[in-house]
Amino acid sequence: MRTAFIQALTELAAEDPRITLVVGDLGFGVVTDFAKRFPKQYLNAGVAEQNMTGLAAGLAMAGKIVFTYSIANFPTLRCLEQVRNDVCYHNANVVVVAVGGGLSYGSLGMSHHATEDIAILRSLPRMTVVAPGDPFEAKAATRAAAAGIGPVYLRLGRAGEPLVHNKPVPWRLGKALTVRRGEDVTLISTGAMLQTAVHTADALAAEGIGVEVLSMHTIKPLDTDAIIDAARRTRRIVTLEEHSILGGLGGAVAEVLCESEVRNVRFQRIGLPSEFGKHIGKQEYLRRIHGLDVDSVIRCVRRMWEGGLRIHKDEHDGATFDRAMPIAKSA
């Protein structure tokens, strides 16, 4: 995704001299060519995220369209007040880019896991929140953010995510993409969980269960029409995100469903427990531990289709999967 991002940004910078990339001394091997090619549109602010974000707001106030770039929590939580006051309050054209969304940097440990960012940033007024589902979406999201639409949070994975969309799709900011059609269960994913959602749908299709997959790349503004339409048709909604179950995609979809007039909808969030991880390992390993792997998601969606309104701890065969099931935990 970061490769798709920097490719898109390079094209944009060539077209529009206002495009400026400000990095917090991160992006080894990613930003070097951009820096060489566009020295007046590039800046390394040093390991100083508060100043990086404040000066990005200042650059934007002078007419630039600024992308700040760093890893995981550094361009967001470290300088959250600069994001809120300097960028959002001034409606500045600043795109805060975090690479390493979710558990992308798994083995690097807790400091490098971005697992509360969506919840926190979507609560900021004027902030658009985007977590593209694959490199194709990352490129489209970068272009949309570069149009000068005010503050944007762009949550990327890292490098090497697979292309989920194998043909061009009509990506539009704020509009969910229907990636698989199905009438039994709707699986709404955000960010790089999209591939897991698609694999789940394909596996369950073989069992005769029709899973609709929505790539909810834009979490704010949320495509409420798509959610309500899916709820009406399938009556079963599962959200999937590499993020805390608190306040992210699942929370946002729950807000829409609870206030909608659609009744008798089964709803399940799949995400990370609100805990600091005790496990060390790569993204795939940590996803498995937390029930975010394809097999676990298949089991969850199948169980919802089979009729259980809630998944109880004793019903579940995964040792830690239930910890990611908020309904079971809080019931």
């Binding site: 100043n51 974000t53 404040g54 990005a56 200042g58 934007a60 002078a62 007419g63 300097d86 001034h90």
Partner: protein, 282 residues
């Protein structure tokens, strides 16, 4: 003698002193009517704002959207009563707006806010933000070959913030000689004297060591302030820092140099005495 026959500098100095006096009267009255804090912080920077708006900043009410205007960011946003007063006196918005400062439904909130208030460049209030934004503006000006300058007024207590020192490190590296940081060094922060909370000394040496061309002035001497700021940039290729030695609560005898008047609002007899002292100032 009639003002038209005086040398220009004397005229300007007199005008600045009068504007500073007007700023103080407004600030005392505003914080009185509002029952609000921070009068001491507004009184200490009255001359700085007066000189900036009267004779240094290239901005007028007609040029607030001009891309080449000078920018002033009041990073110490709690001293907004002083800034609002300066802007109103200079015609950026009606003086009547000052009357309901801080009240329900008013235009002017208790920290400097840009939305809907002509002449305010940047909203502030949380300390440690102004200099970073100023760096971005100044860098954009440099890269685009624009002639504008960026001024930001900091408090001394604000220099406790780490984000200030991130920006202090940044500006000289990028040779931002279109950037001016002014420290209203009134020696008192929220709860106590600066030297007792978190000492800043040697403050000027710190800025110099980071690469800023630094000058120190008596922040209540309009002639000295103006003469110094006329020499901007203090050194080519370096950002400029003006450390203005000031007195918190300046102009009202019983407010001067006291911690109390960071938060206390002038009421009753204290309000009357404060106004009388300021009205009597020539």
């Amino acid at each position: 003698m009639p003002s038209s026959t005086m040398p220009p500098s004397i005229q300007t100095n007199a005008a600045c002193r009068e504007l500073a006096r007007r700023i103080r009267i407004h600030a005392v009255r505003m914080t009185h009517l509002a029952g609000s804090s921070h009068v001491g912080s507004s009184l200490s920077l009255a001359e700085l704002l007066a000189v900036l708006y009267r004779s240094i900043l290239r901005i007028t009410p007609e040029t607030i959207d001009d891309p080449d205007r000078d920018r002033l960011i009041l990073s110490k946003g709690h001293a907004c009563a002083g800034l609002y007063a300066a802007l109103a006196e200079c015609g950026f918005f009606p003086v009547e707006w000052l009357d309901d400062f801080y009240h329900d439904g008013a235009r002017l909130p208790g920290h400097a806010t840009a939305e809907g208030i002509p002449g305010i460049e940047v909203s502030s209030g949380s300390l440690g933000h102004g200099l970073g934004i100023a760096c971005g503006l100044a860098l954009a000006g440099k890269r685009d070959g624009r002639p504008f300058r960026v001024f930001t007024v900091l408090s001394d207590g604000e220099c406790d913030e780490g984000s200030i020192w991130e920006a202090v490190l940044f500006a000289p590296h990028h040779r931002l000689d279109n950037l001016v940081a002014i420290v209203d060094y009134n020696k008192i922060q929220s709860l106590d004297r600066v030297e007792d909370v978190l000492g800043l000394e040697p403050l000027a040496d710190k800025w110099r060591a980071f690469g800023w061309a630094t000058r120190e002035v008596d922040g209540h001497d309009v002639g000295q302030i103006e003469e110094t700021l006329r020499g901007l940039p203090f050194e080519p290729g370096k950002p400029s820092c003006l450390i203005a030695h000031t007195v918190k609560g300046k102009g009202v005898s019983f407010m001067e140099n006291t911690v109390l008047w960071h938060y206390r609002s002038p009421q009753g007899e204290e309000y009357q005495r404060a106004l009388e002292e300021l009205e009597a100032t020539v």
